[in-house]
Amino acid sequence: MSVFLLIIFFLFSLSYGGAKLKEVNLENGVKLIIKETKGRGIVAGSIFIKSGTHGEEKRGTSNLMARLLTKGTKTFSSYDIASAFEDWGGSIEASTADDYIYINFSTRPEGLEQGLRVIESILLEPTFPEEQLQVEKRRVIASIRSRREDGFELAMERLRLITYRGTSYEVAPEGREEDVEKVEREDLIKRWQQVLKGKNVVVAVVGDMPLEELEKRFRAVFSKLPSGEFNLRAEDKPIKESLVERVQREGAQATILCAFEGVPLNSPDFFALRVLNSILGDGMTSKLFSELREKRGYAYATYSMFPIKLYSPRVFAYIGTSPDKKESALKDLLWVVQEAEITNEDLELAKKKIIGGYLLDRQTRGRQAFQLGFWEVMGFGYKMDQEYVKHIENVRLEDVLKVRESLKKAHQCVVVEP
């Protein structure tokens, strides 16, 4: 084991040592993950509900529902809800990603009692007020439109339609304008009853409070949730053939965004693809940065991403370049992703990048809670938070080269050009 890894493991053990982390499985199926920390007095948590936009009858329903969760309950007004957290310097927000709905909150230990009263009310007696629904619908529609003001967002909107066609991912959780218009208060109530099932709920809490105290308080609230399960339908959409779509937009730059086939979360090659993505597109030593920005001067920004989603895994690569360089930039971007040489040195560097970044990302209790809950809700189990480093370290060059075959099969690209 390298010195680097010994150090990193040591640092991880400091934050995970002894009985500071606990898993509690409630009778209704809710999973609590609780971690005790020491610090200046902060408690932060993430409540995940595995669902996202899967099985929505009307697109955009889950997103509107999540936005309205913090806008009023039978007991608390929108202002009361915000005030319970903001008075302590913290915050509460609810939102929807493709695969889950989440509520993130943070407060000081002195504010937790009131915070939990509010959270209980949000979960068990939300009112989804009609007036706020109309306001939020207008805000969502404006946000859908304004995404098109940005070249990258416009490219991603078009690429989703191509690469995820026919699945729930083909449109972002906000939905399309015409979908949002149709959503009614009854839809939100129905959707909330559909997804708020004990087995779909994961709660991760990290705070400067004794473990037993946190467990007692969260157990009391979350035991009241209904039991049962909302099942997601598997929907994998492989990339069959290559294509490039061109979209016209006013502007000073061309945006190129391409999708490549990834590997599923449960694949033995999953961690190798994490490493490959880092080699290709994370940071100043990445292949995209060194080949396209430093050697060829095409761009200021170029990177790749491998978002973790339950189905239809994809790797995305992006470059923003001058309109006159767009054709060669596209050609060279594909070459970097699919062909450029990868060495052992690239591999080792990428691993360190991932592991170091992973550690640094955990400075706040809010991020720690989110990550613990995220691994659990995505099916890896919360212990992956600790095991991730080891999985990354075990990746070998041949694993990376093998998993790269998946990216070579085909590509789907959108070019936004003035």
Binding site: G89, S91, Q253, M284, G320, K352
Partner: protein, 417 residues
């Protein structure tokens, strides 16, 4: 002689060559933030130099005496660290965040990066198209353009009216010589603040800094003559149409007191009451009532010719209504504001500091900003007690003196269909 000041686990040293070092010891985290600040930003540039502070920031990553081009990136990423830099109108800073066993090599890298760059001719040429792409990327973003235009509207004489990134025509004429001249004047100990926050021993950091940064010779900095912005006597308005837009964006701003003077803290409390978070007046009255899609407020924390702004996005047809409602809220505040609301706002600001400082890099930034831009560590040290001392009448005084009785500048950007 170096001297030290110890408050709250914080040690401040002045090195023999004039450089300042601040070390904040924290044992609640495994991460260490290392930052090197220089008091130079785009307001120091003459017209031919527009964009040079930012360009130089790029150039420093293109090779140094000890590390050839590319090597520093490999070293930092090999420690699992994160490195970057930023140029503003007042300062430029370089930082690495890394796990604590690596603080020494990381500091050595920052030393080489900021004190021993090669600034070679071919690298200057390599960097030009990259920076020009960055400039065009900014122009591609209507919101970025909106803020640039807003500063052009407010500032008629002050160098704040120019964008940090400069202009294509100035950037394309930079040479190794012009960059070196700029570098030698500003990137030296008398213009430098080094900040380290994390689980490190201050005396050990000091010794290490003395062996690296401490070896460089310091000399007085030749500063550009700052042209202050004359008093604004009339309301200003500008409308821009943009084909890429889907909704209207609006900024309205007033000239206010510099950062960290006595009544500045009352402005922060006013800002918290007006536009910060979902408990703010603007959120309640504008967002929740469906008048705007988003709204925020804040000041630029500038040491001269500071600005307080309110910005919002909404349907273009509602501009007049939004502006009238914002003005009405401001005008009515002296009658409606209660002591309790002021108390709550102060508590929110103080409590939210605890969250902000969870990240070591945030605390290091705060210290660096205090020393480099404000010129006083007191801004960081006594922030909480300064907020605590604000009274309702201070908040209303600030509102009257700087906002209600003064002209404003506003810019409206609407879709062109």
């Amino acid at each position: 002689m170096a001297y030290a000041l110890a408050v709250q686990d914080l040690a401040k040293y002045k090195l023999k060559n004039g450089a300042i070092l601040v070390v904040k010891h924290r044992d609640d985290t495994e991460a260490v933030s290392l930052q090197v600040w220089f008091k130079v930003g785009s307001i120091e540039e003459n017209y031919q130099q527009k964009g040079m502070a930012h360009f130089l920031e790029h150039m420093l990553f293109n090779g140094s005496e000890k590390y050839p081009y590319g090597e520093i990136d490999r070293l930092v990423e090999g420690m699992g660290g994160r490195m970057n830099a930023g140029t503003s109108k007042e300062y430029t800073f370089y930082y690495i965040t890394v796990a604590k066993p690596y603080w020494k090599p990381a500091l050595e890298i920052l030393y080489q990066l900021t004190q021993k760059p090669l600034l070679s001719e071919d690298m200057v040429e390599k960097e030009k198209p990259i920076v020009i792409e960055e400039l065009r990327r900014g122009k591609d973003d209507p919101i970025n353009l909106l803020w640039e235009e807003f500063e052009k509207l407010v500032y008629k004489a002050s160098p704040y009216r120019h964008p940090i990134i400069g202009y294509e025509e100035t950037i394309s004429k930079f040479t190794r010589e012009s960059l070196l001249e700029f570098f030698r004047n500003y990137y030296q100990p008398q213009n430098m603040v080094i900040v380290v926050v994390g689980d490190v021993e201050p005396s050990e950091v000091k010794s290490f800094v003395e062996e690296t940064f401490g070896k460089e010779a310091g000399k007085p900095v030749k500063r550009a003559q700052y042209v202050p912005e004359p008093e604004q006597l009339e309301n200003r308005f500008k409308e821009i149409k943009d084909k890429r837009l889907e909704r209207a964006y609006w900024i309205i701003g007033w000239r206010v007191m510099p950062v960290a003077v006595k009544d500045y803290y009352a402005l922060l409390v006013l800002d918290q009451i007006l536009g910060n978070g979902r408990t703010s007046l603007f959120y309640k009255e504008l967002v929740e009532k469906g008048l705007v899609y988003s709204v925020s407020s804040g000041d630029f924390a500038r040491p001269r010719d500071n600005l307080f702004v309110i910005s919002a996005s909404f349907e273009p047809s509602r501009y007049k209504e939004v502006k009238e409602r914002v003005m009405q809220i401001l005008r009515e505040l002296p009658q409606t504001l209660t002591d309790e609301e002021v108390q709550k706002a102060k508590q929110r600001i103080i409590n939210s500091e605890v969250f902000a400082l969870e990240r070591v890099q945030r605390e290091a930034y705060y210290i660096g900003y205090s020393l480099t831009v404000v010129g006083l560590l007191d801004y960081y040290l006594y922030f909480e007690s300064n907020i605590r001392s604000v009274r309702k009448k201070d908040v209303l005084n600030v509102l009257e003196k700087y906002i209600l009785s003064k002209p404003y500048s506003e810019i409206l950007m609407v879709p062109e269909k």
